[in-house]
Symmetry: C2
Subunit: 477 residues, 2 copies
Amino acid sequence: MLPYSTLIQLHPDRDTPLYLQVSNRLIQLMTEGTLAPGMRLPSSRKLSEVLNIHRKTVIAAYDELIVQGWAETKTGSGTYVNKDLPIVQASKLLDNASAPVAPEFTPEYSLRFGFNDGHPDVRLAPLKSLVKEYNSLVSNKMFLRQLNYQFQFMGDPFLRQQLSSYLHETRGIVAGPNEILLTRGSIMAFYLIMAKYIEPGDNVVVGDPSYQTFNDIIAIHKGNKISIPVDQYGMDTDVLEKVCQKQKVSLVYVISHHHHPTTVKLIPERRLKLLQLAEKYNFKILEDDYDYDFHYEGSSVLPLASTNRREHIIYAGSFSKTLVPSLRLGFLVIKEEWAEELSQLRRYIDRTGDPMLERAMGVLLESGEVKRTLNKANVAYKARRDLLCNLLDRELRDEIEFDIPGGGMAIWVTFKNHIDVQKLIEYCEKRDLHISNPKTYQSRQSTRLGYASMNEEEIINAFEILKDGIRQVQLPS
Amino acid sequence: MLPYSTLIQLHPDRDTPLYLQVSNRLIQLMTEGTLAPGMRLPSSRKLSEVLNIHRKTVIAAYDELIVQGWAETKTGSGTYVNKDLPIVQASKLLDNASAPVAPEFTPEYSLRFGFNDGHPDVRLAPLKSLVKEYNSLVSNKMFLRQLNYQFQFMGDPFLRQQLSSYLHETRGIVAGPNEILLTRGSIMAFYLIMAKYIEPGDNVVVGDPSYQTFNDIIAIHKGNKISIPVDQYGMDTDVLEKVCQKQKVSLVYVISHHHHPTTVKLIPERRLKLLQLAEKYNFKILEDDYDYDFHYEGSSVLPLASTNRREHIIYAGSFSKTLVPSLRLGFLVIKEEWAEELSQLRRYIDRTGDPMLERAMGVLLESGEVKRTLNKANVAYKARRDLLCNLLDRELRDEIEFDIPGGGMAIWVTFKNHIDVQKLIEYCEKRDLHISNPKTYQSRQSTRLGYASMNEEEIINAFEILKDGIRQVQLPS
């Protein structure tokens, strides 16, 4: 007889009934080849003695094996491994002790404060209101039936309706709910568009530098990236025109409001020029709504999409900055026919968005809570921007160059050449201050100092560490 | 002077300040070409008279245009459209009345009861407990900081840790948290695997018939689908062996527990054979956990993945059936290296899962609420299955053939040939009863009658309509 007392280790403390522990382990032994097809299993009396369990438990385990088809009985002769199982090459005898065991695991949460890429402050987000809405939704019988019976591939109709009015009021965009496709943040919006409309080798124009994640999405879909210089007025549309004269351009990605990473605004002349080129050379513009809601001087410039030339302009936006970046909820304003096409693709990626989150956001839009949150955040972020700009200007004028951004959540700074930025980052990390690496912006000396997620005290603390670091890492001139 | 009173329609009832309504509309007119570069704008006095608003409002609007770069002042001579704007071909004069207006929109929610594909009953889902967890999470400062600062591309570490124990206890799977990748339901799990591991033309084996959504995902990634017959014992592994002898197979998709759509179980011999073939011919098995949790006779057969041969078996599961199908949360059990690769791709699809949902599910797993929910549902669904099977057997024996499924949420039925199934569906729709179309199962006379989402009264009502329908649509024999 096999050494069953070693092979079968029981755990009475677990929820799984003992008889199932026995039968499951026997199945594993059959699968590993330790128990071969046609082999006789020990009698229930014998096995119950060896394992020190009740005989009824063994009988139940054998019944389970028979029901499942792993074993068979021969009258008067006992229980056998099903002889029709294919012969598995016997692995070396494994006792339970050497069976694989899940490694110990301690989740690591990095909670670094610091100058990130430009995240919002979660402390200002209307999360409690959101959960309050969830509370009433899960008691709403009509909503529950919708949850069960319906996949809204375009996203929740109520939120799309609210968004239709909201985009009109805040951005001059006239789009019906059927021209609005909800997505998991703007990342999914980008992914869907590239997957659907870009064939391998198609030319996709972006700024130089541009949002790295978008560059990566182009690469995933094997698009051919063409980079056009971005200066203080935004993407250089004259260069774009020359590119168009030479080759077919399929799509131009533009962050018109505050370009990422450099925070510059696309000026009116170039906006109109871009529209003209799109019509003349028949390419799509993918306009990123990035940071539209955060503007501290005058008001925001209306997006290109407010010209409602939907044949050429697709508009991508997100609620990540009003809520938190990790609650993914974004939207595309797009020709109805394309919205439908993309929603059909999206069915096979995640089926549908989160109907609870979508519905609750619709309610927060309707009640004005989203606007109140944005107003509050604008006041707070302007003060934080001013504070950090003042500190930089007053104390690090010889080490850092920057322009005051008109809005958004980060300052684009350039460290002068005598600063070793990589060493600076290392120094700050040691003091638990995170700084975004210039490499993520395709740069050596420039980075984004996100200020929005820190309150004023935190900004001052962070700045002190940054300043100390800069004193440490100056190269000999 | 242009007919400004027609061109600029103001809406004092809206939230947008009047001066912005004026400047935004003027920008639109410039963009459309109605206002050409260099053109003089009316004086603020004049425009305020025409529009019947305060002169200060017009001055503020012009200031806005100047700040944004759309207009410029010439001292002593007034305000002009920026002459550097490119000349736009003037569209025909649009007045606001003919400007695009979002169409009226009434969201349509179809709330049909009926025999669906096999959905759970949302009334049994622990949604209130879930929202209770949300409530405490949004007051948890540590969690909020995680929300802000961290994208968990693999999914919430706490849920992965809980899942590691849960899968061990319920499925005999020994997988550490780093071998578990959270996804938006099993759909995203499938999508990621196909996107990463299947090149155009690669052979992917599925059952005939099989889960249609998976077939569609193969098509999206241009895989070559090979269908293998599924009989009452599951996928025919002898046929699979012959296929493997002739050509390279990259992946085999198998729903081992209750095959979709036919509900049959893959028997032990074929399970082992499949494993042997995977090792011999070096293909990946993608095992779908579908309906594992719902079993009414004996216990569930351990999945293939419990053999922990991670080099060959990828296991995909989902919480859709414990919660509601539209709250997307699933997982892959997969080699650590592959989990990492897939999480890197997932960054560009939706960045990250929903950290609130993931954490809350982790808590519900830990507290045993998930198990209690499943136990409760198993009792309810078994009763519903028995009820529907009895009704079918007693009253429609001459019209419908079926086997009693050992678990799951639907019965695979075949209408005899004298029943015109398409007419039956139409008849039932008219009486607000939904029946899944056989076409979605690549069939003419067979469909799935999902019973789990209806309570016993609802099943009886639905059955009566079905029975009436069948009486109506019998073909002359």
